[in-house]
Subunit: 267 residues, 2 copies
């Protein structure tokens, strides 16, 4: 059992809380049983090391068993070592160093179904919002999530936690510019729908009948004019009461579920 909180290994894992270290190593830390379980189940080849306290190894025996069955390294560590490794205050006794799972834009868009549903995040800065939208895209059955270069790092521990495992469930691409993303989608015949409170088309009037991508903007200032202009339509979720708006994650989920429902009735 690893007990030395000052060991090089602990320092190396802890350093993954820094974006620069994640970029250099191509690794990040998945904290908590839910994240580790989904990483092991869906992308075992991307899991490098699992760290677990004796107590958590008992409580989450199924996860440890699945990791061992996938021939992954499982290391027992003291609670102090795990706490020293993790960014979250209560990582619930288990964490895993994972290799990044994002893929190039072309790969994420390869093999999309004819009625593709894609979610594009541009300039999203709040980790919780970004993660929650990825979770919502997964739940709505989106085929891919594309995160533009000017957005929050999806391997930030708060993003990973907010995805509740969805990070490992569907193709995610990062690092492309917004024009590159929109061009690549358009080249595949995918309709571009900007989701923005400034839209004149209401969600229930939007054309969700064919392959389409929802383009979501920053949580505070939405989408810049040039991105709205580059899309085929600008759509807003109707506000029926006196609320000024919905937050990004809520608006995104409502849009994505409208698409899922259109797809369901069509199929």
């Amino acid at each position: 059992m690893l007990t030395n909180t000052r060991s090089d290994r602990v320092k190396a894992v802890r350093a993954l809380s820094r974006r620069s270290v994640r970029s250099r190593t191509g690794e990040f830390l998945a904290e908590g049983p839910q994240a580790v379980r989904e990483a092991v189940a869906f992308r075992p080849a991307h899991v490098r090391d699992v760290y677990v306290t004796p107590e958590a190894a008992e409580r989450h025996a199924a996860i440890v068993e699945a990791a061992r069955a996938a021939e992954l390294w499982v290391h027992e560590v003291s609670p102090e070592v795990l706490a020293a490794m993790c960014d979250t205050e209560s990582p619930q006794g288990i964490a895993a160093v994972c290799r990044v799972v994002d893929v190039p834009l072309e790969e994420a868009l390869a093999g999309l179904p004819a009625d593709a549903l894609v979610c594009v995040l541009t300039h999203v800065r709040d980790p919780g919002n970004a993660g929650t939208v990825i979770r919502g895209a997964d739940a709505a059955g989106a085929d891919a999530v594309i995160v533009s270069d000017a957005s929050v790092d999806i391997y930030n521990s708060k993003v990973v936690r907010s995805t509740v495992g969805s990070l490992w469930h569907l193709p995610v691409s990062t690092g492309s510019t917004v024009p590159e993303i929109l061009d690549a989608l358009r080249a595949r015949g995918i309709t571009l729908l900007a989701a923005d409170g400034a839209g004149t088309t209401l969600l229930h009037d939007a054309d969700l009948g064919g392959p389409h991508a929802w383009v979501m903007g920053n949580e505070a200032w939405g989408l810049p004019q040039e991105v709205r202009d580059a899309c085929d339509d600008v759509v807003r979720v109707p506000i029926h009461g006196h609320a000024e708006s919905l937050n990004l994650a809520m608006a995104a989920t409502v849009c994505l579920y409208a698409s899922a429902e259109a797809r369901r009735t069509r199929r």
Copy 2:
């Protein structure tokens, strides 16, 4: 201008961050320009005192003007006094002591339209979730929000902040027990739909054609069996991908917007 951070007035305002003080005084603090603006615009009779720094008074001149036009007390305070009054770290220079706005259950349910849409929160403990659901209910055009007695205090500063003003937009009732709430709704012919991942009816198959109430449970463990049993149907949002679930605020918003859309096409 009030500059003494140790004055009795500052202490009295600051004390409103404690639930017991809010209960005793029937007052709470609305922090930040958005909350103060909505309180002044929608419920001026419930605003007791507005506190604003000179800098914020310039930046948010329209709010101060509206408050003065409504014959409310507007007090200039130093930034230090405002910070000492508030719970949030950056209250953006403005806050208002408000009288509680919740109404008895009977009053909240009086005058509902024939196709009423009601949102019931039971055992919701997380302030951010509760506030976001109230905001979503407002945006979806719900006619009332009922928060059961075993839930978070809606005057908690995090709840108030998360509602982004919606707390003042629609009738909100608190303090009744879950059985009292369900009985009162049923007596008015309102269909009770429990929103729960354990539901067997999928959202798109739910009967949203008549007056109905969405009954939402705790963010972690959902609705207890007896509440699900007491409802007319238990409905779940379909999960199309590999996500295990949606969070409470997302699921509630999707359900409420499905109701709003059903109502829109019917009207």
